[in-house]
Symmetry: C2
Subunit: 183 residues, 2 copies
DNA sequence: TATAACATGTAACTAGTTACATGATTGG
DNA sequence: CCAATCATGTAACTAGTTACATGTTATA
């Protein structure tokens, strides 16, 4: 699926692999991410398949950049993918839940420590949604008002992230209280 | 990580690969799942590493079953893993969010149709939590009251599933309303 | 009579991660 | 002076999916 994410970003603007990574981290990071190495290998495959083209851009006193541009064939592939509806639920993998599921014989304090640690992580993540993601949306809509529609959808995905974190924190609070009482 | 899930289940009771698949589907399915083929290959690896042993059980008029049992070394590996706290947030991949993110130029009705389709899927999933998962917990605690502690944790993971579905449905309602107004 | 459940496995493939390799510039 | 940023890539590996192969029995 990463290929479609890359095509999606390249449709807005030609970019290098390095820039694509940064853009993803700032925008889709909380629901779709990739390592730098995977981005480079996927771009290579996309070029082989004719969905993008690239040309190197020489730079002074910096390594050359390779700028990727979406092709017509790439735009078509992206459009087809966008029109194809999602018909299955995403299968998430929640490491903490897996551990917790098998933790019935652990000491109360061990479980509580682990839950509290995750609580911290989620609190921090929830904070990030207040600034980082909104900045990204504001910046773009300020310079490109024709992307207003897009910005509404970006905002919706950010909202999802916030709700998810809130839910998670609420569940951790409940679960911590439960373990505290029952164990 | 599947290896630890399998060890976790085998610690309660020796099982075949087929049974492990069924048990997972009914219990950890919504936060950890695996295909039958992956279960078989992972069991093989676990046996090579000495974390489980297996013996074939001949059956009349049915293919032989291969029953896997956790070893001491396997219990140790499981315990070590359980004690190791989760220090990173899970990176989820939400296909719908990825599509939505790039859907700014699609027709209003196309987006709404896709959101409504997913709404249905999540409604159905939310229903499942009311029966299926609770049954599983009730059955086991009725026959094995010494697993009461475990059952509390299983119930917590089920609760997570319910909260997640509720959050998702709420977000879909909001997002459908937003697209309806803004597009 | 067909299909779901029981039962195990391999091969080929796709997706994603970790580690390695290289090297200049800028900011604290 | 050290860490971060800029910048690209390959190799080896782990995890997970899809497709294939085989065959019986119970149930609708």
């Amino acid at each position: 699926m990463l290929k479609y994410a890359l095509l999606g970003f390249l449709k807005y603007e030609s970019k290098t692999g390095y820039e694509l990574k940064q853009t993803m981290d700032k925008s889709t990071g909380h629901f779709w991410h990739a390592k730098q190495s995977q981005i480079y290998t996927t771009l290579k495959k996309l070029e082989e398949d004719g969905l993008v083209t690239s040309h190197p851009e020489p730079q002074e006193s910096r390594p050359d950049r390779r700028v990727y541009t979406i092709t017509e064939s790439g735009e078509k592939a992206l459009q087809e993918w966008l029109l194809q509806p999602v018909t299955q639920l995403d299968t998430t993998k929640q490491l903490l839940l897996l551990k917790l599921f098998f933790s019935g014989k652990l000491a109360k304090e061990t479980i509580l420590t682990q839950l509290r640690l995750l609580h911290n992580l989620h609190e921090r993540q929830a904070e990030l949604y207040k600034t980082e993601s909104t900045d990204f949306i504001k910046e773009i809509t300020a310079s490109q008002p024709e992307l207003k529609q897009d910005a509404h959808l970006w905002e919706a995905t950010r909202r999802f992230g916030r709700l998810h974190e809130k839910m998670y924190i609420r569940w951790l609070d409940e679960t911590i209280a439960m373990v505290d009482e029952q164990f």
